[in-house]
Amino acid sequence: MKQYILRRVGYSLVSLFLLSLVIFLFVRVTGDPVSLLVEPGASPEDIENMRRQFGLDRPLWVQYWHFMASLATGDLGLSFYYRTPVLELYFQRLPNSLLLAAVAMALSLLIGIPSGILAAVRVGGFWDSAGKIFALLGLSLPSFWVGLVLILFFSVYLGWLPSSGSGTTLHLLMPAFTLGWYFAAAHMRLTRSSMLEVLGSEYIKLARLKGLPEALVIGKHAFKNALIPVITLAGINLVVMINVAVVVETVFAWPGIGRLLYEGITFRDFPIVQGVVIIGGGMIVLVNLLVDIFYALIDPRIRLES
């Protein structure tokens, strides 16, 4: 078991190293950030001064070495745009993202799981078709469009909700719904397929043959087992919601990490993009690592096979 865990930790560290390398190179492919911080026609001298100030005049490998050395000490660098440590910016935005993600996740589970169960139980019927349409719309309608339509209807037309910003419960409703709908659709589809698989299994047939009430068969025996992959997916999705709700946070001017990432990309603020991606990637790697270890603990075949 110890060897298994060590190997998994090693894989995780390699993944993070590769992620750091890829994101470091990719952000630099997007162009020169200095060009966005000066006027067109600015003197080459001013441009060079700014490049020097940001350390962009140094060779790429030196920049990468500096980035990794800082990362090892928990320093994600200084934002070009805000001239503030990236970690400080990240933690300023984190509570907003956690709040939005928590509410959106709750909504997505409250909508996605019951509708997935209903679709599986009534497979081929009205509720199944309705669920499929719901999932199709949730996954295919772009978030920015859903967000704008909600703003126009509930803010501009009805005047019930604030169009953007944060601070009150009312501010939270539209962004949480917009973000939650997409994930609700994903959770609904997974719940449905997982439930269908479980409902077709031998032990469910046995339970039915024993004459157990259908509610008990579905609610206790089938649901519990079908829920495992949904919860695993929800865990990963929660990390995604926290870190990359870029479109929703931008449309609703919600001051979270997704918008920080958007600002980083917009201004080619390399330290911000690198920092957010590394932290987000780190979270996903950590969740996967914990899931792997958890699976290995409860199922010895997994650690033996690997």
Partner: protein, 529 residues
Amino acid sequence: MLSSQRDHDDPIVRGTTARATRRELLSAAALGVLALGAKPARAAPDGELRIGAHVSLAPTWFDPAETSGIITPFMMLYAMHDAMMKAMPGNPMAPCLAESWTMAPDGLSYAFTLRKGVRFHNGEVLTAEDVKFSLERYRGASSKTLKERVAGVDIHDPHRLTIRLNQPWPDFLTFYASATGAGWIVPKKYVQQVGEDGFKKAPIGAGPYKFVSFTPGVELVCEAFEGYWRKAPAIKRLVFKVVPDEATRLAALQRGELDIAYSIRGELADELVRTPGLTIKPAVGSAPFWLYFPEQWDPQSPWHDRRVRLATNLALDLKTINQALTLGYSRLTGSVFPENFEFYWQPPAPVYDPARARKLLAEAGHARGFDAGDYYCDTSYANIGEVVLNNLREVGIRVKLRPLERAAFFKAYSEKKLKNIVQGASGAFGNCATRAEAFVAKGGTYAYGSYPDIDALFAEQAVQMDRAKREVILHRLQQLVHDKTIFAPIWQLAFISGVGPRVGQSGFGLIKGFVYTAPYEELTLKGKA
């Protein structure tokens, strides 16, 4: 930009042209359907003005020493700080903290007399020490030029000082007052007390509004400074709210959550015009656009023939382009020099005459048109290029659009690597002489060649300390630029904003060439003036 996201974020650079993306069209369509039944919702509290910023506000903008050469930080500087002299309504260099100034006859020094009784927000009196400190502390755009040419600062008493130069420099005041942030004064004692980072977190200035709070990416709150020397602001509280999405900004303006929304473009600007109670406020900045013919000095090139360059000018249907892309609000000045710049000369209005363009091309030996190669532009402004290309094709000038990423474009432009046609632009500060230096005169960063008569005039004006004589020379220089058809000017770009029904004086357009609302002390709410 206009369609690219980054272009939302800088009005002059990225400002205002409007290429309707699918997203904008969808937004506008939805707005159109719903706006008729729109309910005006909660308005901001009395005495508070809410401004919807299109770009995230950066703390570096609160510090004049960090001015990077873009216009956006001046949105903040005009609120929290004050300058020795600055652009004000009707005067591009109005005396502010400096009550008066004189240049020494030899042009080697400028003596300033400071306004008495001016205080910073913390109550400290503004003195010559603060002026010297601010100049020496400045590290933003053009700081090297400034510091190389300034020999030192002599303080005579708390309200009188002299800035000495190493050599006569006719453009000193242009650099000191507008092209840099060096003339915007910060309190020496306070900066030394709280340090550089502390100053950015809690800036103190001598402007009409005091800093109250700043939440990165969310909002900046400022409060009226009753002791502002010019006058106490009429509006007690300013809130700059960051709303990055354009459609959301417009919705917030329609709902009354914002009183002013910056940068509403294209289809959304049309919607703004149609919404009762809202007012569209276009402001023309200092960013002219043009076509440049880098091969005009090559006798083998078709562009060497002035008739071909003139035909290009005549082929451009600028009025239609302006209407289509900026609702007709950009200025068709016919010049590559901003009309609000010192020493500006107004050329004749541009003419659209495709028939004459074809005739000129025929005379130049291109009766059936010609393949003119590539048309280079910054990708952000490729939408302008697309329309221009159609105009050129109609008279027989066939070019291919070659959009380049912005940094790559300006790098290639300055390294003289581009050919055929270049779609250029500049929003850099300065005056007509500094523009000529970069784009027209021999050795200019973006000049691929030059003409001896223009170079002679440029050299002559550079040492001419008499302003009137210098103006004559620079007018003549601009006239030659026009006569030789070095460029085909397009427009001076407009930045479009929206104003809500509560606002009395919005401040837009009061300062020529400034695209944001200012001066803030002039702003009023209806019934509160």
